[in-house]
């Protein structure tokens, strides 16, 4: 429905349909309300014009009426709220096994890295029908990743990761905007998302894969920076063993427990003293300013890849028949 309706941008993601349904409902409601109110104003204005010898009625108010127009709007608003909340919750919960794309925004450019190692600028290639999770950060001011056809927008902040996900439903080229005002050339910070058939996508992936996967890249940075001298996998090192860390709760020295997500790993690399793991000493050097955002993305991808189940164990079941989540290579 409404796919060829010129009022809308193309609808090319799984959430776009439910977002538009709520939108259409609200447009209808708003149109109904404003038309009825305007009709009432016009009718009252003509019927109750000033006339000679006729006085207005002295009506001070009416509690039943006022209660009616308090309770009915409240009810309608609550219905809208629940409806919107259900869609929103789904949209904010990335499905398991989504392909991950790391995004670094800067004035005035989008830099994207695929798990497989491909790098792109102002362009993102994705296959149709696969969940894609974006892990995004900015190296300067706030930007926002906005693809109207996916009904998707997410601010991209410096100093932390924000995430968003989508599953494209039809091949095509869709416009990408920066939506958070970011300075002089804000209107030039645009690009496109190219949605391809899976076979075409595999061909595209193969075409540019000269470098290794993002996780492999991260592993070599891990070695270069000397992280492996303390974070060992064979014996207990001076730092925690990172294998299987991602997504697990971590007991901290000060008694708190936090979940090791992307932001936790990021913070622990840049300013390790912020959260000390229980049983360890705050001896790790600060890497703030020493690693670039791209290197950080690779390190995060590498540490996540250490969660890989041992060979033979069942992988995360894929959500769509015919698509398989791309797993980073095991080292």
């Amino acid at each position: 429905m409404f796919d060829t309706f010129p009022l809308w941008p193309a609808r090319a993601s799984t959430t776009a349909g439910s977002v538009d349904a709520l939108y259409i409902f609200l447009v209808a409601l708003a149109a109904f309300m404003s038309v009825s109110i305007f009709i009432m104003i016009v009718v009252f204005a003509t019927r109750f014009r000033r006339r000679k010898g006729v006085q207005a009625e002295q009506i001070e108010g009416s509690t039943p009426l006022e209660l009616t127009w308090t309770v009915i709007p409240l009810g309608i608003f609550m219905v809208i709220f629940v409806w919107g909340a259900v869609i929103y919750f789904r949209e904010r919960t990335p499905p398991r096994g989504a392909t991950e794309v790391y995004v670094v925004a800067k004035q005035w450019m989008w830099k994207l890295q695929h798990e497989e190692g491909q790098r792109e600028i102002n362009e993102l290639h994705v296959p149709v029908g696969r969940d894609v999770k974006m892990i995004m950060t900015s190296q300067d001011v706030i930007h926002s990743f906005y693809v109207p056809a996916f009904r998707m927008k997410q601010d991209v902040l410096p100093g932390r990761y924000t995430t968003a996900w989508f599953r494209a439903t039809r091949p095509g080229t869709y416009h990408l905007f920066c939506a958070e005002y970011c300075g002089t050339m804000h209107s030039g910070m645009i690009g496109q998302v190219v949605v391809m058939e899976p076979a075409q996508y595999e061909a595209w992936l193969g075409g540019g894969a000269a470098m290794g996967s993002l996780a492999a890249n991260g592993e070599s940075i891990f070695q270069q920076l000397g992280c492996s001298t303390c974070h060992r996998f064979d014996t207990q090192g001076r730092g925690p063993n990172l294998a299987g860390l991602f997504g697990k709760p971590v007991q901290l020295e000060d008694g708190r427990t936090v979940v090791a997500d992307e932001n936790y790993i990021r913070e622990s690399i840049l300013s390790p003293a912020a959260k000390i793991v229980s049983g360890f000493k705050p001896i790790m050097p600060v890497f703030q300013g020493l690693v670039s955002e791209e290197q950080l993305s690779a390190l995060v991808a590498y540490i996540k890849s250490l969660n890989q189940p041992p060979a033979g164990a069942a992988a995360t079941p894929s959500l769509l028949p015919g698509t398989k989540p791309q797993q980073p290579k095991v080292q």
Partner: protein, 577 residues
């Protein structure tokens, strides 16, 4: 509490400077605020005209600014927003009309603190001068938007205008906050302490309730913005890192680290959302006052109207997060902010329906002030109904930072509030200047402005859904937005027409001030205290008398009364209810 024995502390001043420049008289100060806002609105409108022209003819060379570069466009939108929000929407409804009419309507000889009152006007004036100075410094005016999001606003090398221009912008806002805090204190004290004998809180006109609640909002909101602004100045000039994490700009690592880029947004919107109500509540008060007066009927549900103003003010402080749904907040916080935002629609609905109830079975007199009051209701409805869209995080995702939002807030916060000011101007002009404004030109002005406003802002909702982002200095070359250019051109023409029509208002205003027909003391046959005194009111408002209030503010068409209105000071022997 209200007492009958108010002593008027200062004598009527002689001499031009003490009488008209550094005056302690709330009426003169009110007019000063009004004319400051009138100046500001023309500056702001001119900037918006330049923007609209640039959007359609990007290569056009324009008067005063020459060819518009991206940074010129961005500084235009920054200055337009700042001037309009602070120096028009905050200044005229509260500082202007509130200052002039709050003391008279509650039967007081002046504000509680006349010197503070004078000080708050002149502080506002300084803030305005400092802001305009940003146009003339090296690099020009700032381009961080009226919302001044950090880190963009905190980095001095983030673009032209981000050096001295941005410092002047923040300084101006900080000075403005101080002025508004002083003003708010004065309004609250005056309302609580200087009411005339018999003027209970529940006998106050709804205008006074609106100014009172607005002052409370101002007291709570401007303090937060002031401190946020000071932190921003520190980040920019003393190397602190409240708002800036480690960032790399132009390939160079900046000296900041560890700051939160979201802290500014929280502090700003904690001020910014109540600011919407600071702009609109006085307009609601004026609309209520006028709908009742010109329908010759009591306001429908006076108590509900008072409670609705209170509820809007209270809830207004709990919804700031709906400006930040995109910032990566937890979905649970988003739900809380969304729920509160939907809830604020309820008192707004109550007000709308009570206004309609006021019209019902009235005997409506369609004079210009009434047209503007009805126009206010119309804009409040059409601007308000797009609110529930943006209150839904899931719809805010596609609509945030697009033209939809621009259309929404201009209708509800911009033009609706301005219609409140027009209504107030046409209504109180006879009391302020002793003459009537021209009725015919008033109507012409009304119909062009109303139609023009809808032509400008309604299509923006569609543009937003179609994906046109806001704050884009250049979009005519984007293939994706090509099909939206005709509609944008239409908006620009509508804007030119509507802005042109405002000269009708200004000419009418100044012509009538000197040449308009003389007005009686109560030309609209209204009931509140300002219509009981001389025109224009004497220095102490009531010429040595202290009014005694016997009736509520909206006693129209009382059965058995000699006239169709009972003034608040009429003898208690007239039975109302």
């Amino acid at each position: 509490m209200a007492t009958g024995e108010v002593v008027h502390v200062h004598a009527a001043p002689q001499g031009f400077i003490r009488k008209y420049i550094f005056s302690l008289d709330h009426k003169v100060i009110g007019l000063q605020y009004y004319f400051l806002a009138l100046t500001a609105v023309f500056v702001g409108m001119f900037l918006s005209l330049l923007m609209r022209v640039h959007m359609i003819w990007p290569t056009a060379v324009l008067p005063l600014v020459g060819e518009i570069k991206p940074e010129t466009y961005l500084s235009l939108l920054t200055m337009h927003g700042t001037i309009m929000v602070f120096f028009v929407l905050t200044t005229a409804p509260q500082g202007g009309f509130g200052n002039y009419f709050l003391p008279i309507q509650i039967g007081a000889p002046d504000m509680a603190f006349p010197v503070l009152n004078m000080l708050s006007f002149w502080t506002t004036f300084v803030a305005f001068v400092v802001l305009l100075a940003a146009f003339f410094v090296t690099g020009g005016a700032p381009l961080h938007g009226w919302t001044g999001y950090a880190p963009l606003s905190a980095l001095t090398n983030a673009g032209p205008g981000q050096q001295l221009g941005a410092d002047l912008w923040i300084t101006s806002i900080a000075i403005f906050c101080i002025a508004s805090l002083m003003g708010a204190l004065n309004f609250i004290t005056t309302t609580l302490d200087l009411r005339a004998k018999g003027m209970t809180m529940m006998r106050m006109p709804l205008t006074c309730w609106a100014w009172f609640i607005t002052a409370i909002l101002g007291l709570l909101a401007f303090g937060v913005l002031l401190s946020a602004g000071i932190l921003l100045l520190l980040d920019r000039n003393l190397g602190t890192s409240f708002y800036v994490p480690l960032v790399v700009v132009n390939g160079q690592i900046m000296g900041h680290k560890g700051g939160s880029p979201l802290l500014w947004q929280h502090l700003f919107w904690f001020f910014g959302h109540p600011e919407v109500y600071i702009a609109i509540l006085p307009g609601m008060g004026v609309a209520s006052q006028l709908l009742s007066t010109f329908s010759r009927k009591p306001i429908f549900g006076y108590k509900a109207m008072v409670y609705a103003i209170m509820a809007i003010g209270f809830l207004g402080f709990m919804v700031w997060g709906h400006h930040m749904f995109m910032s990566g907040m937890s979905p649970y916080s988003a739900f809380a902010f969304s729920l509160m935002t939907m809830a604020i629609g309820v008192p707004s609905a109550i007000k709308t329906f009570n206004w309609l109830g006021t019209l019902h079975k009235g005997r409506i007199r369609f004079q210009t002030p009434m047209l503007y009051a009805i126009g206010f209701v119309s804009l409040f409805v059409s601007g308000g109904l797009s609110g529930p869209f943006l209150a839904q995080p899931v719809l805010d995702i596609p609509l945030h930072d697009t033209a939809f939002v621009v259309g929404h807030f201009h209708l509800i916060m911009g033009v609706a509030a301005i219609f409140g000011m027009f209504a107030g101007t046409y209504y109180w002009f006879p009391k302020m200047f002793g003459r009537m404004m021209n009725e015919t030109w008033g109507r012409v002005h009304f119909f062009i402005t109303l139609a023009g406003t809808y032509c400008i802002f309604m299509p923006m909702h569609y543009l937003g859904m179609a994906g046109q982002p806001r704050r884009y200095s250049q979009f005519t070359e984007l293939a994706y937005l090509q099909h939206l250019i005709p509609l944008n051109t239409f908006i620009t023409y509508a804007a030119i027409l509507t802005i042109g029509a405002q000269f009708i208002f200004v000419i009418n205003l100044f012509w009538s001030m000197f040449k308009g027909p003389k007005s009686s003391d109560n030309p609209w046959e209204a009931t509140t205290l300002e219509w009981t005194t001389a025109t224009p009111p004497p220095h102490d408002n009531f010429g040595g008398r202290t009014p005694v209030v016997n009736h509520g503010p909206y006693e129209y068409s009382v059965p058995g009364a000699p006239r169709d209105f009972v003034m608040q000071t009429d003898p208690a022997s007239v039975r109302t209810h």
